[in-house]
């Protein structure tokens, strides 16, 4: 049988222009990495068609040990408080090889 280790998966959907800020925060909060996907969509700020940089969305996935979750969510809350529109959701996942996710990304 496979041992799957419990980690938190944070998914963030927002405008492309926030990429640098999000990456900086993920690095600071000790994630072992991050994954970015290109997205389109619609929400309270209107249609994001993906045609211009400004109306392209990104979807970021970050796997974190549960104890580091809170710090990342603090940063995301701060962005939202400033007026940025972020869709954020957290799920429980089981990962293969949990040591991998304990080693923070070298900057």
């Amino acid at each position: 049988m496979h041992r799957l280790f419990s980690e938190k998966l944070v998914t963030i959907i927002t405008s492309d222009v926030l990429e640098e800020l999000l990456v900086a925060s993920v690095r600071k909060r000790g994630a072992s990495g991050y994954t970015l996907l290109r997205a389109r969509g619609a929400g309270s700020e209107g249609l994001q068609t993906g045609v211009l940089w400004v109306d392209s969305n990104l979807l970021m996935k970050v796997i974190l040990p549960p104890e580091r979750l809170s710090g990342l969510l603090d940063d995301l809350d701060a962005l939202i408080a400033k007026g940025h529109h972020l869709t954020v959701f957290v799920a429980d996942v089981g990962v293969l090889g949990h040591e991998k996710f304990e080693r923070p990304l070298k900057s």
């Binding site: 940089w53 962005l79 007026g83």
Partner: protein, 331 residues
């Protein structure tokens, strides 16, 4: 001379086709990256071509062009901001973000104007191209300053504004390392530095296939404008009027600067008018979204892309050209 002639330019017709495709709800779709690729191509090509020609420019006129471009870039957003506040259509922060768009420029509109002039065999000065490159950044800076000031007013305290200080420095840095600015200025520099022979070898790429690439770009932008235009209701008619009035004001100011300030002929004056009249929809929106998150992107995108851009492409350019000719006739 009349609007009909304008409408028979392929680039304008393709814009209309894209717009129409949205209106009839066609399932015509472009891969999203295509617009980004085309706009990179357009900026590099006009940069190279323009830089090459400007290598031969008179320093005096070039300096004057830069000065006037700065004046436009710093002044127009203030006018736009005042108008928006007078109309009471939006709050201060939204007004700041929108204002920045109108102080900056739209390369797509500028190029359509060039196509309009070339189609009619009208000569034009090359200096407006430097102005295009110069005008991207100042309006962003003014927008940020307006927003900082607005936040102070709205918070009723100077403390908030001061806290943003360091942040503001970073934002202004970004106004000058903006991707479009780097691409356009960089290509102009290369066009001016590289050997004439090597620039000539780029001619088929930068010039011969240029009009076709512009047509494809405007086709896609037509679809995007159609998309945005349907958000019109959300914006309200007051803002809609602004989206048509402001380019007319900017265009008139541009005519004055082009003709009286810089002594250009009808062609060059038309182009300066278009710089004044057009609103940025590529370089400025990301900067505003990042720096003024409180403002609603669907306001400034709908205005710049869904109202002002189509207005300029279809009606504005011939109007500014007629104005320029009239100014020259009057003297």
């Amino acid at each position: 001379m009349n609007s009909l002639t304008n409408l028979l330019i392929p680039a304008v017709l393709f814009f209309a086709l894209g717009f129409l495709a949205r209106v009839i709800r066609s399932d015509l779709r472009f891969p999203p990256d295509l617009a980004k690729i085309l706009s990179i191509y357009l900026l590099v090509s006009i940069g190279l071509h323009g830089g090459f020609e400007l290598g031969k420019a008179e320093l005096g006129t070039a300096a004057a062009s830069v000065a006037w471009a700065l004046a436009l870039g710093f002044g127009l957003p203030l006018i736009a901001f005042a108008l928006l506040r007078l109309s009471r259509g939006v709050d201060r922060l939204n007004a700041s973000a929108i204002a920045a768009h109108y102080g900056s420029v739209s390369a797509g509109t500028f190029l359509t104007a060039v196509a309009f002039l070339e189609n009619q065999g009208i000569e034009y000065e090359r200096y407006p191209l430097i102005m295009l490159a110069v005008m991207e950044s100042p309006a962003i800076v003014v927008g940020l300053l307006l927003a900082t000031w607005s936040r102070g007013r709205e918070a009723g305290a100077a403390s908030g504004a001061r806290a943003e200080g360091g942040h503001l420095g970073a934002m202004i840095r970004e106004a000058f390392t903006n991707g479009s600015v780097v691409l356009l200025l960089g290509s102009m520099l290369i066009g001016a530095l590289a050997s004439p022979k090597s620039i000539e070898s780029l001619h088929p790429f930068t010039t011969e296939i240029f009009m076709g690439m512009l047509c494809l770009f405007l086709l896609e932008m037509g679809m995007e404008a159609g998309h945005r235009f349907s958000d019109f209701r959300r914006v309200g008619w007051l803002l809609g009027v602004f989206g048509v009035l402001m380019p007319l004001i900017g265009g008139a100011i541009g005519v004055v600067i082009g003709h009286y300030g810089l002594g250009f002929d009808a062609g060059g004056t038309t182009l300066v008018a278009v710089l004044g009249a057009s609103a940025s929809y590529i370089a400025v929106p990301p900067a505003m979204r990042l720096a003024i998150p409180e403002a609603n992107p669907s306001f400034y995108l709908t205005l710049a892309l869904g109202v002002t851009f189509p207005f300029n492409v279809v009606f504005g350019i011939p109007i500014y050209h007629a104005l320029s000719q009239w100014a020259i006739r009057v003297g």
